[in-house]
Symmetry: C2
Subunit: 345 residues, 2 copies
DNA sequence: CAATTTTTGGCAACCGGTTGACAAGGGTGG
DNA sequence: CCACCCTTGTCAACCGGTTGCCAAAAATTG
């Protein structure tokens, strides 16, 4: 076998002798032309049932697997979708990643993951790099500006999660339902003054949520103030505790659960009783939100479903369907746990 | 431009007119042969400094980017590594994913992610599928058997995390240090009987950790019993609470943090005070382990570092270095928080 | 049964790089 | 001045599929 040009053997490879039979090997075995093999294996109905069978058997026998690169080269199709998240350490994205991976692999697509580390520049770079190797791209809570996203979107299908951009398919949780449930519940429990702890300024969602809170409070005749946090983390939540107390609010809704958890820890450390003296409502319902004591009441944002929906839209577009013209909205809902309740003045 | 064979324009593409200049375009612009361009761009020093410069300028001007598929086809190199995790929802893997992604992208490799959903069969399928498109593969806490892993490893470089397999490079936390710290700390706090809550039988790690606990308890002259859990989750932890109480142990070390959290919740719900009446020590130090009240004492397993190390080894192997012959071990350490302490009989 | 249409398979070009073989050009030493 | 060697660019084959075009074969129709 060391002689050059091994005659009948399927094309050899570096070391593993198992892999890599080619359509040429199949063609030889089946006694047809390689192009016929290609058609039999990808174009349904293009060849007669008889030859189809012969070829399939030969492929089976040789343990054939298409070479994705060889296919991608002329067609551009890679059976791959890219997902870019702002921060892999942020549990908010865990569910999105999971939803996307699961849905993608159910439809035979592989997920390629990249992180922007919260930097718009890194994000653009990563997006460009990925874009050349995937069939489509999903941007979860993107940090780059709208124009960059539109530019990417002109190249290949792009779906955005957690942000709304005209002309680009988006999946955006409709925060209003969850927020109004939360505010109504707080009002019913005797609260009259509410504080909203905002997230990072460059997050599109933080504004959206504040709008929702403001509107719901007006409707329920609650006072609402907006407080700023230094960063949307547990630590940020701790730091904002002072402002919360100063604000005089007895109920707080935070931009995300991490802030809520930090805030609750700090308030409890200062001797406040939750929810007897102050109610805290988080946002998202991340993993671990129910680990706290009391467990965190929160507005659940169906992150996993966002991932799923985004992939579904993307794959549909890839199959030639039209993208929905409007942002797809998924519902949020209040999850009542122990951190909110009646005010015991 | 509708006329066929557009003459001078760089090769056109579906719609986006920006992307995809080829080495042929560069060659034409620079007045050299395409192969020279290829060499200038990949083989350092193969062409003269002068032509190198000319070509680089031309590439710059045309905004050239290699076509990864065209490159992968003849060479097999894809600048891509695959990572397979047992369960994307399990926070244990979050840090691994993150470590791998970060380290990979720092060395210009893209991470491709797949999940086995805890099923050995799915895992093998996913592994095979990925293997054909990546340069190397990382298996985090694999569920498939050793032989399958060795088979994969014969095809392309494979690195395993959280399991030790002869002949395959592995990254395995050395649990002994962390465990003995934990046991010593418990002994010093007056505990004499300890229970270990085990994880799933097919997990290599659960046995390893039990060995460590047993040995450390012998050394510190503590009694040690092993209890089985139905599943390594919060729920599984709740269910095992009964057995823990029955065992008479006043200190518990669990296979992972999720079990510890569930166990603590259930015990507290039953009126037990932690750590006054019972001490609980988890394993891994996952995200959220410090959200509980009291915060969870745990043996930290440096998951992120495991991801990083695994990628480093993999990329080194890909560059022709030898893999370490022995399993690479990373240190574990005890993180003392509130859930363990002195026994107040 | 011949004429016509529809299937079906083959040919060959192409996707965009990589690389072994080779020859022209340039430099060195005898 | 010539032989020899090294550097550098070119040629051409190749990686493994896909696809437009054409002709042979089969099926349909009058």
């Amino acid at each position: 076998m060391t002689s050059p040009g091994a005659a009948t053997a399927p094309s050899k490879r570096g070391r593993g002798e198992k892999s890599s039979a080619t359509i040429y090997d199949i063609a030889k075995l089946a006694g047809v032309n390689p192009s016929t093999v290609s058609r039999a294996l990808s174009k349904p109905g293009r060849v007669s049932a008889k030859t189809q069978k012969i070829i399939e058997d030969a492929a089976e026998q040789l343990n054939y697997q298409v070479n994705p690169f060889a296919r991608a080269l002329p067609t551009g199709r890679t059976q791959t979708i890219g997902l870019i998240v702002a921060d892999i350490t942020n549990p908010t994205f865990f569910d999105i990643i999971r939803g996307a991976e699961t849905t993608g692999s159910a439809r035979d697509y592989t997920l390629v993951l990249a992180e922007s580390a919260e930097s718009p520049e890194t994000e653009v770079t990563a997006a460009r790099r990925l874009l050349s190797t995937v069939d489509g791209l999903i941007l979860a809570s993107p940090r780059m500006d709208d124009d960059h996203i539109r530019a990417l979107s002109a190249d290949k299908p792009v779906v955005v999660i957690n942000r709304q951009i005209d002309g680009v398919p988006c999946v955006v949780p409709d925060v209003n339902k969850g927020i109004s449930e939360a505010v109504r519940s707080l009002a019913a429990n005797g609260h009259t003054n509410l504080a909203y702890v905002a997230g990072p300024a460059q997050s599109w969602m933080t504004g959206r949520r504040w709008e929702g809170v403001k509107a719901a409070c007006e409707w329920s005749k609650l006072g609402a103030v907006r407080l700023e946090s230094s960063k949307p983390t547990v630590d940020g939540g701790r730091q904002v505790a002072r402002d919360v107390l100063d604000s005089g609010a007895t109920a707080v809704i935070t931009y995300n659960d991490l802030l809520a958890i930090g805030l609750m820890q700090e308030l409890q450390a200062g001797g406040m009783r939750v929810p007897d003296q102050i109610s805290i409502v988080g946002f998202d319902d991340i993993f671990g939100a129910d680990f706290t004591t009391p467990a965190l009441t929160t507005v659940r944002s169906p992150l996993g479903e966002c991932g799923t929906r985004a992939v579904t839209i993307l794959l549909d577009v890839l199959q030639g369907h039209d993208a929905p013209d409007e942002a797809v909205s998924v519902e949020t809902e209040l999850v009542v746990r122990g951190s909110s309740g009646r005010l015991l003045a």
